[in-house]
């Protein structure tokens, strides 16, 4: 959908963008506020935003000017090379973000890409017939074929099974059955044969009737019409089935019992040999099928490898005749001889990663192993039949920040001298993807950015004073040149080449990507925490990666550590200006909530880990950023552990002192979704004897809100953004009346549905499903407001800002999505309407409020239909909170839609009065309009959209928007238009020229008028006198001549 891009008009096509304006008209907000006192602010705003509904439509040549879009795929799980044709060499990959993509092998660019969605996990991929990419997804229940060159879907088959099982996919290379090549799929405890041409069902063999067999491998011996399925029943019996490939008929079934039980997967060694570990992981079982009989042979691992312990795993790399075993000490290659003997061939380091075998020519197979060294990796390719020597060995320099190699896929090509060359695709610890060829990194992709967990922002460093004169001259020259070009464009004198140059200048303006703080606050660093535990800093100007760091604190332990939260740690503003801003990363080492946590503080300018506090002893279930700062402007944080104890950071006596001073007003709450309970806690001032340190505080339960479990289940909560700025507490409505907003940071929105309706849409009837929403004060546990939506259900997406909450849900009765708004007003302040008292300042409007004073509140609410289903909702935020707000809605189509908050105003009515109209209230409609021009993502899609972050710029009118998912998108929007600055395409050259021309004109006309005046003066008395008398005229003639002469001499 690209309704945004309006066909290029000649005028705008030629209007150009020059390096951003060196100055812009900026009304300091203080002045604005002062103005607002005297003159009414709404009127001023009305004055500025002349049109009723501002939209963000932009012209085609404005795309990329202040927005950028980056496409990623995520961590690669499988890769299949397609290099048969000489033309476009490509690799097809599937990733953990459920993306299938075709990448260019030369540059790493995406040819095509499909994001399958969060619950359509890709199990296997392969290439069939040399032209289709086959994907098996959703636990083997969906089989799709995609056209290899362009990614169009060719066919799709749904495979139904009797029960869930693992999914296996086999695409026979040279198998023809009645002019068709079947694809053999095992899923849902059935073997399916699917035609690869059109996805038709050929046959199905259900294994549910054969007992609870679990098939591990499907093998198609070359040249036969039989499919071998090897499986295990109840982990104590091996089963092999031979199935006819034409009709699915069972030919043979053999089984052998193995009382020891098995661990892991059966790995095929050759066509009739398999290997597996027993349940104790200390015995290798070699399975040989001979003449329809199964022979089992057990070998103790300790006999093969001396001094190995229990953590043994068979690696799934399929190498013919060889298998690899990973123990605590390293990886061992074991060869299976023809007689069924196991011979240890080689031991390598534990960190070595092994690829699958790659068939080279007749009977020859190669595989690659990667060894990690210091600042480099060693890639070696070996031939399976000749393990003793490396066929190829390359050493490649590797960035430390990429971590270890996680996966390797190899592919070969034939060199001009007919020898084999190899290229390797490696997946690193930070989820990046690299292609190695001839000892060099051909390309890299930072695909870790596809799995952003949390976002923080940071200012850029202040510009150093003292720029060289040459630089200034150069930039001035560039600036002038750009403006002259732009002027030419405006006057339509530019040639096509110049138009292209103008566009290039606009897009690659060096100004927007500089590494210094700018006046308008558009340039920032976006700090992104990814699932791989890597921190990236992206520049908002052009989206480039400024620095990236793999957090060492998350890698130190053997356990799986992952980052979970990112917080601002230090934002130097007034004091400690020498310090760089820093962020706090909270991670968890382990999968359960009680696992120990890892903390790390990272410099936001350089990416260096300033402090590595991990792993710490306590667990972390909540991170609370307190509104207090110590003298070095470090933000105080409370980390709540699983035992409901509060741990204070930073662990300094000063911080402890500040916290103890304020602790009686610090509360925290927990939402227990499973139990349906909200609990509020207070922090005990003194730490008792059993707390481990002086920075650990006990908490006590103050209140609980228990939702009845039979009728309500919590499906969503939302609070206000802690850094949101609210400009005013009063809302001026029609007839100059005032309503006082109930503005509290301690307000929590909770949505519950009846348990029956907690499933997907359609799982409950309208009568069964009830959606209840609450506004809860989290200090006292008081329920401020409760509202019931009958016949509605989740999923609920909500956003809470200032004194309102907007939420999105599904209305079952109307079969449509709905959106509702609740605005909450403070009734206890409503009496403050006496002007005299307000003028002299006798009011209670600025006195601090306590939640325990139980202010009386009233609410207003309204509901509307909304066409789209929603993935995320956010709201714009500006520096002072004066500018009107827009809701940013992440639609199901992975776009971001900006919806004016005025559309969701509970005071809208069907027939607005004149006063309402003047106030700007829109007439009530049942559905919220979707204006195609207001998609902020215009023609882009943020695939797999998960979140939308807004950051205020310094310019009050503007808000920076960052949307993330598999893709990243950034732009800036001005909800009330840029009333405080000149537009981007303002032509300064034209303005200067006009001023210059005017000044010249003034001088010229002044000189001309002077001359005219003088002439008039001289001619005027003469003519007059001529009329008076001839004698006088004569006299004058006599007198004037010498006088004139005299004057001239005097000069």
């Amino acid at each position: 959908m690209d309704p945004k891009v309006i066909p290029n008009t000649p005028k705008h096509a030629s209007s150009s963008q020059i390096p951003p304006p060196p100055f812009s008209l900026f009304i300091p907000t203080n002045n604005l506020i002062a103005m607002a006192m005297a003159i009414k602010l709404p009127l001023i705003l009305l004055f500025f935003s002349s049109s009723l509904i501002p939209t963000f439509s932009l012209f085609e040549d404005q795309v990329g000017l202040m927005d950028w879009h980056q496409r990623y795929i995520g961590k690669v799980k499988h890769a299949v090379f397609h290099t048969q044709k000489a033309g476009r060499k490509r690799v097809v990959v599937s990733t953990e973000e459920n993306v299938i993509a075709s990448l260019d092998l030369r540059r790493g660019e995406i040819f095509w890409r499909h994001v399958l969605g969060a619950n359509d996990v890709v199990d296997k991929i392969d290439i069939a017939l040399g032209k289709y990419v086959i994907t098996l997804s959703s636990e083997g229940s969906i089989l799709r074929a995609w056209n290899l060159p362009d990614g169009q879907m060719v066919w799709e088959s749904f495979l139904s099974g009797s029960k869930s099982s693992k999914a296996l996919l086999t695409v026979p290379a040279n198998l023809k059955v009645d002019l068709d090549s079947p694809i053999i799929v095992y899923s849902g405890a059935c073997i399916h044969a699917i035609s690869s041409i059109d996805g038709e069902y050929l046959w199905k063999k259900d294994f549910a009737s054969e007992g609870s067999v679990d098939v591990h491998q499907l093998i198609l011996p070359g040249g036969s019409d039989v499919v071998h399925a090897v499986g295990v029943t109840d982990s104590s019996q091996f089963d092999t089935y031979e199935i006819h490939i034409k009709n699915g008929g069972l030919l043979k079934h053999t089984s052998a019992s193995f009382p020891g039980g098995i661990y892991g997967e059966i790995l095929p060694i050759s066509g009739d040999r398999f290997v597996v570990l027993d349940a104790s992981r200390s015995v290798l079982v070699l399975i040989t099928i001979e003449n329809g009989q199964i022979h089992l042979e057990q070998t103790h691992i300790s006999d093969l490898i001396h001094g190995s312990s229990g953590n043994t795993v068979i690696l799934p790399s399929k190498l013919s005749g060889i298998f690899s075993l990973r123990t605590d000490n390293g990886i061992v290659f074991i060869k299976v001889t023809d007689e069924g003997k196991l011979n240890v061939m080689e031991k390598v380091d534990k960190t070595v990663v092994i690829s699958d075998a790659l068939p080279l020519s007749e009977g020859e197979q190669a595989f690659a192993l990667v060894q990690h060294g210091d600042g480099k990796i060693e890639l070696s390719v070996r031939l399976v039949h000749d393990m003793s020597s490396n066929h190829l060995k390359e050493t490649v320099k590797m960035d430390h920040e990429r971590g270890f190699v996680h996966k390797i896929f190899i592919n070969n090509y034939v060199r001009t001298d007919r020898s084999h060359g190899f290229r390797a695709l490696i997946v690193m610890e930070d989820h990046s993807l690299l292609l190695l060829q001839q000892g060099e990194i051909v390309w890299t992709r930072d695909d870790g950015l596809a799995s952003v967990i949390d976002v923080a922002t940071s200012e850029l460093p202040v510009e150093k004073i003292g720029v060289s004169v040459a630089k200034v001259e150069h930039s001035l020259f560039e600036w002038l040149k750009g403006h002259m070009l732009k002027l030419k464009g405006t006057l339509m004198l530019a040639t096509p080449d110049e138009v292209a140059a103008i566009q290039k200048i606009r897009l690659q303006s060096s100004e927007k990507s500089r590494m210094t703080r700018d006046h308008n606050g558009f340039r920032r660093l976006l700090i992104l925490l990814t699932r791989a535990g890597k921190l990236y800093a992206l520049h908002t100007g052009d989206g480039r990666v400024v620095w990236s760091t793999l957090l060492q604190s998350l890698r130190t332990t053997s356990q799986q550590c992952a980052g979970i939260k990112l917080h601002q740690w230090q934002v130097p503003h007034h004091h400690a200006l020498d310090n760089n801003p820093s962020v706090l990363v909270v991670g968890r080492c382990g999968l359960s909530l009680t696992s120990p946590s890892a903390l790390s503080i990272v410099d936001a300018y350089t990416g260096k880990e300033l402090q590595n506090m991990g792993p710490v002893q306590h667990s972390t279930v909540q991170v609370i950023s307190l509104p207090f700062r110590d003298s070095s402007e470090q933000q105080l944080h409370l980390l709540i552990d699983a035992d409901k104890r509060a741990h204070l950071y930073p662990t300094t006596p000063e911080a402890a002192h500040i916290f103890q001073r304020e602790s009686e007003n610090v509360y925290w709450y927990s939402v227990e979704s499973e139990a349906g309970i909200l609990r509020g806690y207070g922090v005990k001032k003194s730490h008792s004897s059993d707390t481990p340190s002086e920075y650990c505080f006990e908490t006590r339960n103050l209140w609980s809100v228990v939702f009845p479990s039979e009728s309500e289940k919590i499906i969503g909560t939302v609070t206000r953004k802690p850094n949101e700025v609210v400009h005013t507490q009063a809302k001026v409505i029609a007839d100059e009346d005032v309503m006082y907003k109930y503005i509290s940071k301690n307000m929590l929105f909770v949505a519950t549905v009846s348990p029956k309706a907690s499933g997907p849409i359609g799982s409950a009837t309208p009568d069964e499903s009830v959606l209840v929403v609450y506004l809860v004060d989290t200090v006292t546990g008081r329920i401020l407001h409760r509202m019931t939506h009958l016949g509605s259900q989740g999923p609920v997406h909500a956003v809470l800002s200032e004194n309102w909450v907007v939420y999105h849900y599904f209305n079952l009765r109307a079969h449509r999505y709905g959106m509702s708004i609740i605005e909450i007003y403070d009734q206890s302040r409503a009496e403050n309407k006496d002007i005299l008292k307000l003028i002299v300042g006798k009011h209670n409007l600025t006195t601090p409020v306590s939640s325990y004073s139980r202010p009386e509140v009233t609410t207003k609410s309204q509901s509307y239909f909304f066409t789209h289903s929603v993935k995320a909702i956010s709201v714009t935020s500006t520096a002072k909170g004066i500018t009107s707000k827009h809701l940013l809605i992440g639609t199901i189509g992975d776009q971001v839609l900006a919806l004016d908050k005025r559309f969701v105003d509970p005071r809208r009515s069907l027939n607005p009065t004149q006063a309402d109209k003047e106030e700007g209230l829109l007439p009530l409609t049942d559905a919220l309009p979707i204006i195609p021009q207001s998609y902020v993502t215009h023609s882009f899609k943020v695939e797999g959209l998960r979140g939308i972050e807004t950051v205020p710029a310094k310019l009050e009118s503007t808000s920076l928007v960052f949307a993330y998912g598999v893709d990243l998108f950034h732009t800036r929007i001005a909800p009330s238009r840029t009333y405080d600055s000149l537009t981007e395409d303002f032509n300064y050259a034209l303005l200067l020229l006009t001023i210059l021309a005017l000044v010249v004109a003034i001088f010229v006309t002044w000189v001309l008028s002077e001359r005219k005046d003088l002439q008039d003066k001289w001619s005027w008395p003469q003519t007059q006198l001529w009329l008076q008398s001839s004698s006088e005229q004569r006299l004058l003639n006599i007198c004037s001549t010498p006088v004139n002469m005299f004057v001239n001499q005097n000069r």
Partner: protein, 203 residues
């Protein structure tokens, strides 16, 4: 006695005597700038500087002066009458202005835009500047015999009326802080005593 009453910048001629005077050229624009010299023909006939010529017989300078004084009294009465009449006229002048202003305000409408704001502010400014210059306006009509108080009061009252009209217009435009909303619309939210944070357990 003949006097040519031309423009001031023009040399004035007199037949009897002729004197020539050079004037310093004044730098600058305008009429004065172009005057580089002037011929000053002073009329010395009425001054008794030419005492060497005796008065004709039967001519008494005193009787002429006496006659002149009664004549000048008459003249002065007429002048003061004329002055008071003029003063009243001046005092009533703002009324016309007021009417015109009212009409223009009515034309401007009650929405805030450049035109209406301009008119309103000129409606406020004009009476203000006029009130500042009350003394100056009535300066030419200052006389011992003329009572300027009443015209001045009328003048002030009319101007105040004009100003009120401007203020009223300002109010209809909604630019006067006469409502509670004007005083609270920029009040920041009250500080909260308690702080609470938390949420669903992180996973």
């Amino acid at each position: 006695m003949e006097q040519l009453d031309l423009d001031h910048s023009v040399p004035v001629f007199h037949i009897d005597r002729l004197s020539l005077q050079l004037l310093l050229m004044e730098k600058g624009k305008g009429v004065m700038g172009s005057r580089k010299w002037a011929v000053d023909f002073t009329d010395n006939s009425s001054t008794p500087s030419t005492r060497d010529i005796p008065d004709p017989p039967g001519f008494t300078r005193e009787s002429l002066d006496l006659d002149d004084s009664s004549l000048s009294r008459q003249k002065k009465d007429a002048e003061s009458n004329w002055k008071s009449q003029k003063a009243w006229e001046v005092a009533q002048a703002p009324f016309k202005n007021l009417m015109m202003m009212g009409f223009m305000m009515w034309m401007a409408g009650s929405t805030v835009h450049l035109f209406s704001i301009g008119i309103t502010f000129s409606a406020l400014w004009q009476p203000l500047s006029a009130l500042q210059g009350v003394g100056k306006v009535f300066e030419p009509y200052k006389d011992n015999k003329v009572d300027l108080l009443a015209p001045k009061l009328l003048y002030i009252a009319l101007n105040l009326g004009g100003m009120l009209l401007g203020v009223w217009k300002l109010n209809t435009l909604g630019l006067l802080p006469t409502h509670a909303s004007d005083w609270v619309s920029s009040l920041p939210p009250a500080h909260e005593v308690e702080f609470s944070g938390g949420g669903i357990a992180l996973h």
